[in-house]
Protein backbone atom coordinates (compact mmCIF):
# COMPACT_ATOMS: atom_id res chain seq x y z
CA UNK A 1 0.00 0.00 0.00
CA UNK A 2 2.50 2.56 1.13
CA UNK A 3 6.20 2.54 0.60
CA UNK A 4 6.70 4.27 3.96
CA UNK A 5 6.53 0.86 5.58
CA UNK A 6 7.89 -1.26 7.04
CA UNK A 7 8.87 1.02 9.90
CA UNK A 8 11.83 -0.39 11.78
CA UNK A 9 12.52 0.64 15.35
CA UNK A 10 15.77 -0.57 16.85
CA UNK A 11 16.79 -0.02 20.46
CA UNK A 12 15.10 3.37 20.38
CA UNK A 13 15.17 5.35 23.63
CA UNK A 14 13.70 8.74 24.46
CA UNK A 15 14.80 10.48 27.64
CA UNK A 16 13.95 13.72 29.31
CA UNK A 17 16.22 15.27 31.91
CA UNK A 18 18.03 11.94 32.25
CA UNK A 19 14.84 9.99 32.93
CA UNK A 20 13.87 7.30 30.40
CA UNK A 21 10.40 8.04 29.08
CA UNK A 22 10.24 5.12 26.71
CA UNK A 23 12.57 2.42 25.44
CA UNK A 24 14.62 0.66 24.53
CA UNK A 25 12.04 -0.36 21.92
CA UNK A 26 12.45 -2.87 19.13
CA UNK A 27 9.54 -2.99 16.74
CA UNK A 28 8.59 -3.49 13.12
CA UNK A 29 5.34 -2.01 11.86
CA UNK A 30 3.87 -3.22 8.59
CA UNK A 31 1.89 -1.23 6.06
CA UNK A 32 -1.63 -2.31 6.92
CA UNK A 33 -4.13 -1.89 9.69
CA UNK A 34 -4.72 0.12 12.79
CA UNK A 35 -2.28 -0.24 15.63
CA UNK A 36 -3.67 0.56 19.05
CA UNK A 37 -1.21 1.30 21.84
CA UNK A 38 -2.50 0.37 25.28
CA UNK A 39 -1.01 0.23 28.72
CA UNK A 40 -1.45 1.73 32.17
CA UNK A 41 -1.04 5.44 32.83
CA UNK A 42 2.58 6.47 32.71
CA UNK A 43 3.61 3.41 30.72
CA UNK A 44 4.94 5.66 27.94
CA UNK A 45 2.13 5.56 25.36
CA UNK A 46 2.36 9.24 24.52
CA UNK A 47 6.16 9.20 24.52
CA UNK A 48 6.22 6.23 22.17
CA UNK A 49 3.92 7.95 19.67
CA UNK A 50 5.87 11.20 19.88
CA UNK A 51 9.15 9.36 19.41
CA UNK A 52 7.85 7.47 16.37
CA UNK A 53 6.51 10.73 14.90
CA UNK A 54 9.84 12.40 15.52
CA UNK A 55 8.78 15.24 17.80
CA UNK A 56 10.33 13.73 20.92
CA UNK A 57 14.08 13.48 21.03
CA UNK A 58 15.55 10.13 20.05
CA UNK A 59 18.41 9.70 22.50
CA UNK A 60 19.58 6.28 21.38
CA UNK A 61 18.80 3.68 18.74
CA UNK A 62 17.28 4.11 15.32
CA UNK A 63 13.87 4.68 13.75
CA UNK A 64 13.92 3.89 10.05
CA UNK A 65 11.10 4.45 7.56
CA UNK A 66 11.29 2.78 4.20
CA UNK A 67 11.95 6.14 2.54
CA UNK A 68 14.08 9.25 3.21
CA UNK A 69 13.44 10.86 6.58
CA UNK A 70 12.18 14.24 5.33
CA UNK A 71 9.74 12.56 2.96
CA UNK A 72 8.50 10.35 5.81
CA UNK A 73 8.03 13.47 7.93
CA UNK A 74 5.83 15.07 5.33
CA UNK A 75 3.61 12.01 5.05
CA UNK A 76 2.55 11.76 8.66
CA UNK A 77 0.23 13.73 10.90
CA UNK A 78 -0.34 13.81 14.63
CA UNK A 79 -3.47 14.46 16.70
CA UNK A 80 -2.72 15.50 20.26
CA UNK A 81 -4.64 14.47 23.33
CA UNK A 82 -5.51 18.13 23.95
CA UNK A 83 -6.06 19.50 20.47
CA UNK A 84 -4.17 22.69 19.63
CA UNK A 85 -6.57 25.28 18.27
CA UNK A 86 -4.97 27.95 16.11
CA UNK A 87 -6.60 31.27 16.97
CA UNK A 88 -8.38 31.47 13.65
CA UNK A 89 -11.62 30.31 12.14
CA UNK A 90 -12.37 26.62 11.70
CA UNK A 91 -11.87 27.01 7.95
CA UNK A 92 -8.47 28.66 8.37
CA UNK A 93 -7.44 25.98 10.87
CA UNK A 94 -8.24 23.28 8.32
CA UNK A 95 -6.48 25.14 5.52
CA UNK A 96 -3.36 25.84 7.58
CA UNK A 97 -1.44 22.58 6.88
CA UNK A 98 -1.98 23.08 3.15
CA UNK A 99 -1.00 26.74 3.25
CA UNK A 100 2.23 25.77 4.99
CA UNK A 101 2.96 23.46 2.07
CA UNK A 102 2.38 26.31 -0.35
CA UNK A 103 -1.07 25.35 -1.65
CA UNK A 104 -2.77 28.42 -3.19
CA UNK A 105 -5.22 30.06 -0.81
CA UNK A 106 -8.39 29.52 -2.81
CA UNK A 107 -7.59 25.84 -3.33
CA UNK A 108 -6.70 25.34 0.33
CA UNK A 109 -9.94 27.00 1.47
CA UNK A 110 -11.99 24.82 -0.83
CA UNK A 111 -10.40 21.67 0.52
CA UNK A 112 -10.92 23.04 4.02
CA UNK A 113 -14.66 23.40 3.40
CA UNK A 114 -14.74 19.89 1.99
CA UNK A 115 -13.02 18.47 5.07
CA UNK A 116 -15.22 20.50 7.38
CA UNK A 117 -18.18 18.62 5.87
CA UNK A 118 -16.41 15.28 6.15
CA UNK A 119 -15.70 15.66 9.86
CA UNK A 120 -19.16 17.09 10.50
CA UNK A 121 -18.17 20.67 11.12
CA UNK A 122 -19.75 22.13 7.96
CA UNK A 123 -22.01 24.32 10.09
CA UNK A 124 -19.09 25.90 11.93
CA UNK A 125 -16.53 26.85 9.26
CA UNK A 126 -16.69 30.55 10.06
CA UNK A 127 -16.56 30.19 13.84
CA UNK A 128 -13.39 30.92 15.74
CA UNK A 129 -11.83 27.56 16.62
CA UNK A 130 -11.40 28.63 20.23
CA UNK A 131 -15.17 28.67 20.87
CA UNK A 132 -15.68 25.02 19.82
CA UNK A 133 -16.69 22.31 22.31
CA UNK A 134 -14.29 19.51 23.23
CA UNK A 135 -15.75 17.09 20.68
CA UNK A 136 -15.76 19.70 17.92
CA UNK A 137 -12.17 20.59 18.67
CA UNK A 138 -11.05 16.99 18.35
CA UNK A 139 -12.96 16.59 15.08
CA UNK A 140 -11.32 19.73 13.79
CA UNK A 141 -7.89 18.45 14.84
CA UNK A 142 -8.50 15.17 13.04
CA UNK A 143 -9.75 16.92 9.91
CA UNK A 144 -6.71 19.19 10.01
CA UNK A 145 -4.45 16.14 10.36
CA UNK A 146 -6.14 14.31 7.48
CA UNK A 147 -6.29 17.21 5.03
CA UNK A 148 -2.75 16.55 3.89
CA UNK A 149 -3.81 12.97 3.05
CA UNK A 150 -1.09 11.53 5.27
CA UNK A 151 -0.05 7.90 4.94
CA UNK A 152 0.22 7.61 8.70
CA UNK A 153 -1.92 9.28 11.31
CA UNK A 154 -0.83 9.22 14.94
CA UNK A 155 -3.52 9.85 17.54
CA UNK A 156 -2.81 10.25 21.23
CA UNK A 157 -5.95 9.31 23.19
CA UNK A 158 -8.19 11.33 20.88
CA UNK A 159 -11.38 10.61 22.84
CA UNK A 160 -10.05 10.79 26.39
CA UNK A 161 -12.38 13.52 27.60
CA UNK A 162 -15.33 13.15 25.25
CA UNK A 163 -18.88 11.91 25.75
CA UNK A 164 -20.23 8.82 24.02
CA UNK A 165 -21.75 10.58 21.05
CA UNK A 166 -18.63 12.55 20.19
CA UNK A 167 -16.54 9.42 20.64
CA UNK A 168 -18.72 7.52 18.17
CA UNK A 169 -18.54 10.33 15.61
CA UNK A 170 -14.78 10.40 15.86
CA UNK A 171 -14.48 6.62 15.59
CA UNK A 172 -16.61 6.83 12.42
CA UNK A 173 -14.21 9.34 10.93
CA UNK A 174 -11.24 7.19 11.88
CA UNK A 175 -12.75 4.05 10.44
CA UNK A 176 -13.43 5.81 7.15
CA UNK A 177 -9.85 7.04 7.07
CA UNK A 178 -8.55 3.56 7.79
CA UNK A 179 -10.80 2.09 5.11
CA UNK A 180 -9.40 4.55 2.58
CA UNK A 181 -5.90 3.33 3.37
CA UNK A 182 -4.57 5.67 6.07
CA UNK A 183 -2.38 3.81 8.52
CA UNK A 184 -3.56 4.65 12.06
CA UNK A 185 -1.37 4.39 15.12
CA UNK A 186 -3.28 5.49 18.19
CA UNK A 187 -3.19 5.18 21.92
CA UNK A 188 -6.24 4.80 24.11
CA UNK A 189 -7.16 3.81 27.63
CA UNK A 190 -10.68 2.79 26.52
CA UNK A 191 -10.56 -0.99 25.99
CA UNK A 192 -13.91 -0.90 24.19
CA UNK A 193 -12.46 1.54 21.69
CA UNK A 194 -9.33 -0.58 21.34
CA UNK A 195 -11.47 -3.65 20.53
CA UNK A 196 -13.57 -1.69 18.03
CA UNK A 197 -10.69 -0.13 16.09
CA UNK A 198 -7.57 -2.23 16.50
CA UNK A 199 -6.23 -4.66 13.95
CA UNK A 200 -3.12 -5.07 16.06
CA UNK A 201 -2.33 -4.23 19.65
CA UNK A 202 0.82 -2.91 21.24
CA UNK A 203 0.77 -3.36 25.00
CA UNK A 204 3.46 -1.35 26.73
CA UNK A 205 4.55 -1.37 30.31
CA UNK A 206 7.29 0.62 32.01
CA UNK A 207 8.34 2.22 28.71
CA UNK A 208 8.92 -1.13 27.00
CA UNK A 209 6.90 -3.17 24.54
CA UNK A 210 5.43 -5.96 26.59
CA UNK A 211 3.24 -7.70 24.07
CA UNK A 212 2.62 -7.00 20.39
CA UNK A 213 0.41 -8.88 17.98
CA UNK A 214 -2.88 -9.09 16.09
CA UNK A 215 -5.88 -7.73 17.97
CA UNK A 216 -8.25 -10.71 18.11
CA UNK A 217 -5.82 -13.24 19.64
CA UNK A 218 -4.60 -10.58 22.07
CA UNK A 219 -8.04 -9.76 23.41
CA UNK A 220 -9.05 -13.45 23.55
CA UNK A 221 -5.92 -14.81 25.16
CA UNK A 222 -3.09 -12.45 26.13
CA UNK A 223 0.28 -14.17 26.37
CA UNK A 224 1.55 -12.45 29.48
CA UNK A 225 0.22 -12.30 33.02
CA UNK A 226 0.48 -8.49 33.07
CA UNK A 227 -1.62 -8.13 29.90
CA UNK A 228 -4.22 -10.47 31.33
CA UNK A 229 -4.30 -8.46 34.53
CA UNK A 230 -4.54 -5.18 32.60
CA UNK A 231 -7.47 -6.44 30.52
CA UNK A 232 -9.22 -7.60 33.70
CA UNK A 233 -8.92 -4.07 35.00
CA UNK A 234 -6.38 -4.82 37.71
CA UNK A 235 -3.73 -2.30 38.62
CA UNK A 236 -0.53 -3.21 36.78
CA UNK A 237 2.84 -1.79 37.70
Amino acid sequence: MSDLFPLKVEQAVSRRRGKVLVGPVDLTLKARGTTVVIGPNGAGKTSLLRMLHGIARLNAGKITWNCPQDEAQRRQSFVFQTPVMLRRSVRDNLAYPLRVLGTPRADALQQADDWAERVGLGYAVNRPATVLSGGERQKLAIGRALIRSPDVLFLDEPCSSLDGRATREIEDILQKAAASGTRLIMSTHDMGQARRLASEVLFILGGKVHEFGPATPFFEGPQTAQARAFLRGDIVE
Binding site: H53, I55, Q73, R74, S77, F78, F80, V84, L86, R87, R88, Y96, P97, V100, P128, T130, V131
Partner: protein
Protein backbone atom coordinates in the same frame (compact mmCIF):
# COMPACT_ATOMS: atom_id res chain seq x y z
CA UNK B 1 -6.07 75.15 40.30
CA UNK B 2 -6.86 78.23 38.22
CA UNK B 3 -4.09 77.19 35.84
CA UNK B 4 -5.87 73.90 35.32
CA UNK B 5 -9.16 75.60 34.38
CA UNK B 6 -7.33 78.13 32.25
CA UNK B 7 -5.58 75.23 30.54
CA UNK B 8 -8.84 73.43 29.85
CA UNK B 9 -10.55 76.49 28.44
CA UNK B 10 -7.44 77.37 26.39
CA UNK B 11 -7.35 73.83 25.01
CA UNK B 12 -11.02 74.08 24.11
CA UNK B 13 -10.52 77.44 22.43
CA UNK B 14 -7.48 76.22 20.45
CA UNK B 15 -9.44 73.22 19.29
CA UNK B 16 -12.60 74.98 18.17
CA UNK B 17 -10.62 77.71 16.42
CA UNK B 18 -8.38 75.07 14.77
CA UNK B 19 -5.35 77.17 15.64
CA UNK B 20 -2.91 76.90 12.71
CA UNK B 21 0.19 76.40 14.86
CA UNK B 22 -1.59 73.80 16.94
CA UNK B 23 -2.70 71.86 13.89
CA UNK B 24 0.81 72.03 12.50
CA UNK B 25 2.61 70.71 15.58
CA UNK B 26 -0.07 68.12 16.22
CA UNK B 27 0.26 66.75 12.70
CA UNK B 28 4.01 66.76 13.06
CA UNK B 29 3.78 64.87 16.35
CA UNK B 30 1.59 62.31 14.64
CA UNK B 31 3.77 62.04 11.57
CA UNK B 32 6.99 61.57 13.53
CA UNK B 33 5.54 59.11 16.01
CA UNK B 34 3.51 57.06 13.54
CA UNK B 35 6.52 56.73 11.22
CA UNK B 36 8.70 55.71 14.15
CA UNK B 37 6.03 53.28 15.32
CA UNK B 38 5.69 51.71 11.88
CA UNK B 39 9.42 51.15 11.47
CA UNK B 40 9.90 50.07 15.09
CA UNK B 41 7.07 47.54 14.76
CA UNK B 42 8.58 46.10 11.57
CA UNK B 43 11.78 45.50 13.53
CA UNK B 44 10.47 44.63 16.98
CA UNK B 45 7.52 42.34 16.27
CA UNK B 46 9.40 39.75 14.17
CA UNK B 47 12.28 40.01 16.63
CA UNK B 48 9.95 39.29 19.55
CA UNK B 49 8.55 36.31 17.64
CA UNK B 50 12.05 35.08 16.80
CA UNK B 51 12.97 35.19 20.48
CA UNK B 52 9.90 33.09 21.20
CA UNK B 53 10.51 30.35 18.63
CA UNK B 54 14.29 30.12 18.34
CA UNK B 55 16.55 28.62 20.94
CA UNK B 56 19.95 30.15 20.43
CA UNK B 57 22.95 30.53 22.60
CA UNK B 58 22.57 34.05 23.93
CA UNK B 59 18.79 34.03 23.96
CA UNK B 60 18.39 34.50 27.71
CA UNK B 61 20.97 37.24 27.75
CA UNK B 62 19.27 38.93 24.82
CA UNK B 63 15.92 38.85 26.61
CA UNK B 64 17.44 40.20 29.81
CA UNK B 65 19.14 43.02 27.91
CA UNK B 66 15.92 43.77 26.06
CA UNK B 67 13.96 44.01 29.29
CA UNK B 68 16.60 46.27 30.73
CA UNK B 69 16.52 48.49 27.63
CA UNK B 70 12.77 48.97 28.10
CA UNK B 71 13.68 51.44 30.80
CA UNK B 72 16.20 53.22 28.60
CA UNK B 73 16.36 56.89 29.65
CA UNK B 74 15.23 58.78 26.54
CA UNK B 75 17.58 61.67 27.14
CA UNK B 76 20.55 59.27 26.99
CA UNK B 77 19.24 57.87 23.71
CA UNK B 78 18.91 61.45 22.52
CA UNK B 79 22.49 62.24 23.41
CA UNK B 80 23.84 59.13 21.71
CA UNK B 81 21.83 59.79 18.55
CA UNK B 82 22.96 63.40 18.73
CA UNK B 83 26.61 62.41 18.86
CA UNK B 84 26.18 60.08 15.90
CA UNK B 85 24.24 62.53 13.74
CA UNK B 86 26.23 65.64 14.60
CA UNK B 87 28.21 67.12 11.72
CA UNK B 88 31.35 66.06 13.54
CA UNK B 89 29.93 62.58 14.26
CA UNK B 90 30.13 59.44 12.11
CA UNK B 91 26.84 60.09 10.26
CA UNK B 92 27.29 63.85 10.09
CA UNK B 93 27.48 63.93 6.31
CA UNK B 94 23.79 63.10 6.04
CA UNK B 95 22.89 66.36 7.78
CA UNK B 96 20.11 64.69 9.75
CA UNK B 97 20.55 66.45 13.08
CA UNK B 98 17.67 68.79 13.94
CA UNK B 99 15.36 67.22 11.38
CA UNK B 100 12.18 65.17 11.88
CA UNK B 101 14.18 62.16 10.65
CA UNK B 102 16.52 62.45 13.64
CA UNK B 103 13.48 62.52 15.92
CA UNK B 104 12.11 59.41 14.23
CA UNK B 105 15.42 57.60 14.68
CA UNK B 106 15.54 58.47 18.39
CA UNK B 107 11.96 57.34 18.92
CA UNK B 108 12.59 54.07 17.10
CA UNK B 109 15.53 53.32 19.40
CA UNK B 110 13.43 54.13 22.45
CA UNK B 111 10.41 52.00 21.56
CA UNK B 112 11.95 48.97 19.80
CA UNK B 113 12.99 47.28 23.08
CA UNK B 114 9.60 48.04 24.61
CA UNK B 115 7.61 46.63 21.71
CA UNK B 116 9.91 43.63 21.25
CA UNK B 117 9.76 42.80 24.92
CA UNK B 118 5.97 42.97 25.20
CA UNK B 119 5.63 41.09 21.91
CA UNK B 120 7.96 38.39 23.19
CA UNK B 121 5.99 38.01 26.43
CA UNK B 122 2.73 37.64 24.52
CA UNK B 123 4.06 35.35 21.79
CA UNK B 124 5.90 33.11 24.25
CA UNK B 125 2.57 31.98 25.67
CA UNK B 126 1.10 31.51 22.23
CA UNK B 127 4.16 29.55 21.18
CA UNK B 128 3.96 27.18 24.15
CA UNK B 129 0.40 26.48 23.00
CA UNK B 130 1.29 26.05 19.32
CA UNK B 131 4.70 24.44 19.76
CA UNK B 132 3.78 20.75 19.35
CA UNK B 133 1.44 21.32 16.42
CA UNK B 134 3.81 23.49 14.40
CA UNK B 135 6.75 21.18 15.05
CA UNK B 136 4.59 18.21 14.05
CA UNK B 137 3.65 19.93 10.79
CA UNK B 138 7.29 20.47 9.90
CA UNK B 139 6.94 24.22 9.62
CA UNK B 140 9.98 26.35 8.92
CA UNK B 141 11.14 29.03 11.37
CA UNK B 142 9.80 31.71 9.08
CA UNK B 143 6.40 30.02 8.94
CA UNK B 144 6.33 29.72 12.73
CA UNK B 145 7.10 33.40 13.11
CA UNK B 146 4.46 34.33 10.53
CA UNK B 147 1.86 32.18 12.26
CA UNK B 148 2.61 33.65 15.68
CA UNK B 149 2.56 37.20 14.36
CA UNK B 150 -0.76 36.67 12.63
CA UNK B 151 -2.53 34.75 15.35
CA UNK B 152 -1.07 36.96 18.05
CA UNK B 153 -1.97 40.19 16.32
CA UNK B 154 -4.31 41.41 19.04
CA UNK B 155 -1.63 41.12 21.69
CA UNK B 156 0.88 42.67 19.31
CA UNK B 157 -1.44 45.60 18.82
CA UNK B 158 -1.23 46.23 22.53
CA UNK B 159 2.55 46.11 22.27
CA UNK B 160 2.49 48.62 19.41
CA UNK B 161 0.11 50.92 21.26
CA UNK B 162 2.40 50.86 24.29
CA UNK B 163 5.17 51.92 21.95
CA UNK B 164 3.00 54.68 20.52
CA UNK B 165 2.19 55.96 24.00
CA UNK B 166 5.83 56.10 24.97
CA UNK B 167 6.89 57.75 21.71
CA UNK B 168 4.19 60.41 21.47
CA UNK B 169 4.74 61.51 25.06
CA UNK B 170 8.52 61.52 24.84
CA UNK B 171 10.33 64.84 25.18
CA UNK B 172 13.90 64.34 26.42
CA UNK B 173 15.37 62.68 23.35
CA UNK B 174 13.55 64.60 20.63
CA UNK B 175 14.37 67.88 22.33
CA UNK B 176 18.05 67.02 22.04
CA UNK B 177 18.06 65.65 18.48
CA UNK B 178 15.20 67.72 17.06
CA UNK B 179 16.10 71.04 18.62
CA UNK B 180 12.47 72.18 18.97
CA UNK B 181 12.78 74.42 15.91
CA UNK B 182 9.59 76.35 15.22
CA UNK B 183 7.79 75.17 12.06
CA UNK B 184 10.39 72.44 11.58
CA UNK B 185 10.88 70.10 14.50
CA UNK B 186 8.51 71.46 17.13
CA UNK B 187 6.07 68.83 18.33
CA UNK B 188 3.49 68.79 21.11
CA UNK B 189 5.82 67.65 23.87
CA UNK B 190 8.63 70.05 23.07
CA UNK B 191 6.11 72.86 22.75
CA UNK B 192 4.83 71.97 26.21
CA UNK B 193 8.37 72.12 27.58
CA UNK B 194 8.84 75.49 25.89
CA UNK B 195 5.63 76.98 27.28
CA UNK B 196 6.46 75.66 30.73
CA UNK B 197 9.85 77.35 30.42
CA UNK B 198 8.12 80.61 29.62
CA UNK B 199 5.94 80.20 32.70
CA UNK B 200 2.88 79.97 30.45
CA UNK B 201 1.36 77.13 32.42
CA UNK B 202 -2.12 77.52 30.99
CA UNK B 203 -0.86 77.18 27.44
CA UNK B 204 1.40 74.28 28.43
CA UNK B 205 -1.53 72.54 30.08
CA UNK B 206 -3.75 73.19 27.07
CA UNK B 207 -1.20 71.47 24.84
CA UNK B 208 -0.93 68.71 27.43
CA UNK B 209 -4.66 68.09 27.33
CA UNK B 210 -4.55 67.98 23.55
CA UNK B 211 -1.69 65.46 23.71
CA UNK B 212 -3.68 63.25 26.06
CA UNK B 213 -6.75 63.56 23.87
CA UNK B 214 -4.70 62.67 20.82
CA UNK B 215 -3.28 59.56 22.48
CA UNK B 216 -6.77 58.42 23.42
CA UNK B 217 -8.08 59.14 19.95
CA UNK B 218 -5.33 57.17 18.23
CA UNK B 219 -5.91 54.22 20.55
CA UNK B 220 -9.62 54.22 19.83
CA UNK B 221 -9.02 54.60 16.10
CA UNK B 222 -6.60 51.70 15.92
CA UNK B 223 -8.87 49.48 17.97
CA UNK B 224 -11.73 50.37 15.69
CA UNK B 225 -9.71 49.75 12.54
CA UNK B 226 -8.74 46.30 13.72
CA UNK B 227 -12.01 45.57 15.50
CA UNK B 228 -10.27 44.18 18.54
CA UNK B 229 -13.26 44.19 20.79
CA UNK B 230 -15.88 42.92 18.42
CA UNK B 231 -14.74 39.39 17.78
CA UNK B 232 -13.43 39.08 21.30
CA UNK B 233 -11.73 35.93 22.41
CA UNK B 234 -8.37 36.41 20.80
Amino acid sequence: MTDLWDGLSRAFFLLVSLDADLVEITLRSLRVTLTALLIASLIALPFGALLAVRRFRFRRTTIAVLNALMGLPPVVVGLIVYVFLSRSGPFGVFGLLFTPTAMIIAQIIIIVPLIASIAHQALRELWSDYHDLLISMNTTHIQRIQTLLWDGRRALLTAALAGFGRAIGEVGAIMVVGGNIDHHTRVLTTAIALETGKGEFAMALALGFILIGLAILVNIAIHWLTQTEREGRW
